[in-house]
Subunit: 712 residues, 2 copies
């Protein structure tokens, strides 16, 4: 596609020179034509006679609209007349429109009346673009009309969008079916719409000063798409770019910070209850094998380690400095770190931007930039990296090794992560506090964990993204290799920023996060428990090799609820082939139900669970199993659990490793059974049919997003 950038530059420069923040309709149309966006035939008339002549040339009916830089909402101003069918009518319409506009805003500059080919038929849609504070340029798509403005059925993608992105938008709205044609109506021209989306997204990418753009309505027919109206809002202030080193630099620095050979503790203390004391104890008692250098103005030794007055006095190289001193001393100590060429600082202290001390934080960041130090925090609990037995934090130590890396923006949520992990014996590779995110943020962590062999899943709690664009780009790459799960807090707070276009007004903040996360392959957790359960479960589940899920249940009642949960979580209940159905039936009572769920009924001995689960694992057409256990005297919980582990592990030994999750209904003994199953890589939950299926569903969402299995 050839884009005429010169034409656009000229129009925008003229608007800038005139100090305008919006384009006139003809100018906006000029942008469209330069970027291959189809618009109706039209012209601008400056007299009523002109209007009649122009209309006759275009062909009736025509639409007539006021042209005035001050009048953005033309309809409300009485500045639009549709269905003008003759030369006389056009003359009359001109007079009416101009009179209405004058009445609406006596000071408006009226440049004329636009006469335009009247489009009709087809499906009305909206295509637009907005500039989001976190994500930058986004392209939007929705169905036109009042109904959609009310229902907010609109979808967003990062600009520039690819053709695939654009096509996914057509399927990304609730009313997607309409575009494919319902009740005998033909399908719209999907390629034409996709091209228009791509072109809009490229236009705003090439010209960042186009801050909002609306094509509303676009008439989409079976043979093409034409934008009937175009509005363009400009903003010539350049956005402030956040510091963003290259991937290579991030990896080099983050590896030294997260896997240090030497740690300095600035503000180390021998006194119980001090943060600098807790950090020292956690480092030592956590079993960290690297060098530990306490920094203290007067002490010569702290907790058996030789102390130094300044990091500059440490004779060896230092990888990371953990700060446990009051905010006001941080900047100076950081200068010393810079002079010592320490690549990373973990800023535990609070008292910065979160308490209003923005200047203090900016000062620290300036030092960091000057000396090329990466900052974690400030206002954090620190971090854990279990493969190095490293607890660089003032919280309690944690040592259960696993492959889940978690991070939180908030300290409270960090504590909940530690408590849950300990309670559930969840293995983790890292827990990181990000706090004020003055520098290191989620995309830096993603970049590190991407290449960290000790991490297989990354779970992040966040309240905002300092650079959503960077996050989305990195997450899109990383999520292809490792599951990325995000709990976005502040989900329901609708962005309060002013919006002067339709598309802008439609942009509920959270819908943007939702769409961008999906585009980036990120699995979204809706609640804190979801984040924690996904972190725990996804890491122990193998990746499914296909979409066929089978439920095997002792309790028919659980089977129904598990089926509900499958639908809720986008899982595909396999349609049971007749031969497989017959094979299952051999093991279950005649009144049990094969099909799917396989209902083995409640009164069965352990062998029935064993035989049916073995069959489910052996048959290559089945890709994942959900077990519904019912506590009975004949098959007590631990008998069931041990047997399931036996069957599943025997299969794993043969190279068959399918995801298996379990829901346990029964008396309190099922809790021990769930624990035992979980420790053997079968995520199992007592008294819940929803959570095990949600965990499996999250694994599936990731596998599909990463392209490892096809969509269902």
């Amino acid at each position: 596609m050839g884009y005429d950038k010169t034409a656009v530059r000229k129009i925008l420069d003229a608007a800038k020179a005139a100090g305008r923040s919006a384009l006139t309709a003809p100018e906006a149309k000029g942008l469209c034509e330069a970027y291959g966006i189809a618009v109706p035939k039209e012209g601008v008339a400056s007299t009523a006679a002109d209007a009649a002549k122009l209309a006759a040339k275009i062909g009736f009916p025509v639409v007539m609209k006021i042209v005035s830089p001050q009048i953005l909402h033309k309809t409300e101003a009485g500045g639009v007349m549709v269905g003008v069918r003759s030369a006389e009518a056009a003359q009359e319409a001109f007079a009416t429109i101009v009179a209405n506009a004058r009445r609406h805003d006596p000071n408006a500059t009226i440049e004329g009346v636009q006469v335009q080919q009247m489009l009709s038929g087809g499906q009305e849609v909206i295509i637009g673009a907005v500039t989001d504070p976190a994500f930058g340029k986004l392209v939007a798509f929705g169905l036109g009309g009042i109904l959609v403005e009310v229902l907010k059925d609109i979808t967003f993608r990062l600009a520039p969008a690819t053709r695939e992105d654009a096509l996914s938008m057509l399927d990304g709205i609730a009313a997607a079916e309409i575009l494919r044609g319902v009740r005998g109506a033909p399908s719209v021209d999907r390629e034409a719409l996709a091209t228009m989306i791509v072109n809009v997204s490229q236009l705003v990418t090439d010209f960042p000063e186009v801050s909002e753009l609306d094509l509303n309505p676009v008439f989409a027919t079976p043979r093409g798409a034409t934008a009937a109206d175009v509005r363009v809002v400009l903003d010539f202030k350049p956005p402030v770019a956040r510091y963003r080193p290259s991937q290579e630099v991030i990896v080099r620095q983050m590896n030294r910070i997260m896997k240090p050979d030497a740690v300095a503790v600035i503000g180390a203390s021998a006194e119980n209850g001090k943060i600098g004391n807790s950090v020292m104890k956690n480092l030592i008692n956590g079993g960290y094998q690297g060098a530990i250098y306490p920094i203290h103005p007067s002490a010569t030794e702290i907790l058996g380690k030789k102390a130094y007055k300044s990091v500059k006095d440490v004779p060896e190289s230092v990888d990371v400095a953990v700060f446990a001193i009051p905010a006001k001393f941080v900047a100076q100590a950081l200068v010393e770190c810079g002079e010592k060429k320490i690549p990373g600082a973990v800023l535990i202290p609070s008292g910065f931007a979160e308490t209003g001390n923005v200047a203090g934080q900016e000062e620290v960041v300036a030092v960091a930039r000057k000396y090329d130090i990466r900052l974690m925090g400030p206002n954090i609990y620190g971090f854990y990296y279990t493969p190095k037995n490293l607890c660089a934090t003032f919280c309690t130590a944690y040592d259960v090794k696993g492959t889940a890396a978690l991070s939180s923006q908030s300290g409270g949520i960090g504590m909940a992560i530690i408590g849950f992990s300990r309670s559930a014996k969840m293995g983790v590779s890292a827990i990181v506090g990000l706090g004020n995110k003055s520098d290191i943020d989620e995309d830096d962590l993603l970049t590190f964990f991407e290449q960290d062999d000790n991490t297989q899943i990354i779970c992040q709690h966040l309240e905002d993204l300092k650079d959503g664009r960077a996050f989305a780009e990195v997450a899109r790459r990383v999520s292809k290799k490792k599951p990325v799960v995000v709990l976005k807090a502040g989900r329901t707070a609708v962005g309060a920023r002013a919006a002067s276009s339709h598309t802008g007004a439609l942009a509920g903040n959270d819908r943007i996060y939702d769409d961008v996360f999906r585009q980036a392959g990120v699995i979204r957790a809706r609640t804190l428990r979801d984040l924690l359960d996904f972190a725990r479960g996804i890491q122990v589940l193998p990746t499914p090799k296909g979409n066929n899920v089978v439920i095997i249940t002792g309790a028919g009642g659980s089977g129904v609820l598990l089926s509900d949960a499958c639908v809720d979580n986008g899982l595909t209940l396999m349609a049971m082939p007749p031969d497989l159905d017959a094979a299952f039936r051999k093991f279950i009572p005649p009144f049990g139900a094969a099909g799917n769920p396989v209902d083995i009924t409640g009164g069965e001995p352990p062998t029935t669970y064993q035989n049916t689960v073995r069959l489910g694992l052996e048959d290559p057409r089945i890709h994942a199993l959900i077990l519904g256990y019912w506590h009975t005297i004949i098959t007590p919980p631990m008998v069931f659990a041990r047997l399931m582990v036996e069957v599943v592990e025997a299969m794993r030994a043969k190279g068959i490793d399918k995801p298996v999750v379990a829901s346990l209904a029964g008396d309190v003994e099922v809790e021990e059974a769930a624990e035992y199953l979980y420790q053997h890589r079968i995520p199992a939950y007592a008294y819940s049919t929803e959570i095990p299926v949600a965990v499996l569903g999250a694994k599936y969402r990731w596998a599909r997003g990463a392209g490892l299995i096809p969509p269902p």
Copy 2:
């Protein structure tokens, strides 16, 4: 409103006599006119000349439509022409329509062509009625057009609907805003629409043979509503009514069953592992103080109780017989119960309808009806009623007394209820298995628990409703006094029944349950854990006196997630008045945030929690508190928990009892703190911000539904 029932009866009788299952358009219009449902001016033309004359009389433009009992989908048959603007055009249209209809179905009887006033403008809506297998007559309302058929934005109420029901339907669709007028459009005539809904609902109630009715589209304008097209489907088969005794009879019988003075165990056994042995042990060891009569063919004594060959041999009166014998012996033993005048039988045995033995179950039900015995089951675990220390079940005994009554259709879910209850030390008044529901079902239980002073909340798991109409009627009454929570399994299975009307096709089974539950004031649990957490939490929370909820949190991060959860659960975060804001600020650090959430910040001592929570309880403008605790060295979990209980209990002693829930973020010690808080009527959850708010939200939904507090 005067309804002309005679006119309707005549039309329906004619259709019945002709063996028809649908009405012609003029007949359908006749129904509408008899029930005050506005329809367009029209007539039927049998020749082209007639059509022209008729059209001229009605006034142009007109719509013309084929009239044929065989052609239901007129548009698809080419049998509709709109916008006919002259007498000549009407003549032509007549010929075209008849020709199209002949081509579409050469065997169709063509009765003529309807000529109708052409409606336009206003908002198109759909009003209809369906006959649901569980709920009977339902009235439906939605917006018209393809978009709504695609988005399925439709709402249902039981017929007959009141004016209030009808008005609530206008607000019950996602696109409700449109009816109130958006972007300068006027509001539709809400009263006219409500009247039409009421009239439709009355019509199908008065004439049950009208099985489906569609008014589609209805043109709703600012001054009235007119149904442009009417379709009526008939079904003259009378529905089979389920046995439904009067409320008084239910109460009398259920009181004897649930609170018996004497229990017979048919199939009692001294042999370990037998169901009849488990039942005996549970009765005896559970501490039941009434008489226990083991029934056994040969034993003279079982577990120290004198045994009898038949219930008829028991010298005293018996209130309930628990059956622990194989299915094939049940009917005969039940006859003996009947002869003994025992009012209730608890049928534990399986082997009835659930295994295909429908006849066996029908036989048992016939015996029960003959002798006026109420049946619980068959295929159940029995039931518990803790105020009588009664464990009439073969499962393990349960003795934690409380005020929640739970029931389950499935045995597996019943076991999960028992396990969860024991694990959480949840007090219950009753746990009841309903199984096949051959007789006693959810509405019988509701009727009993309504008047049972030991029960304050009723939680039911169900897969279907044998008599949804009875359930809805009873639930509507009971939910005004006590919260009714329902987990409806099979939520995602769309009803597979054939539907021949638009409204019918739109009726996703679950949407009906959703709407009827809401209409009946039932709180719907979406998952098993929700049901259990609601049962546990709602009973300990006092009823809020208003909508103002305040979050007090030590962790800012929890505050954000708790706010999200408030929005998700329909809770109102109080807008903080300036004086109250100032009062909170006195207790918190200067960089803490008052407003709502009140963020006291993480480093605060116990007194800060104490002072702010006390203020929150004391100020009468605040109606409920959500606490976000952050585990720190300064305020450890149990210190926080004890202090909160102290503050809350001091207020309770003063007569101030507001709902307080808590989310605890911290290391594993927070689990003990949560437990302690819960035991003192403060529902508290570790590692979750969502669950405590969901519990509070459920209490609010009930209080609003019961009219105890206004809608937010």
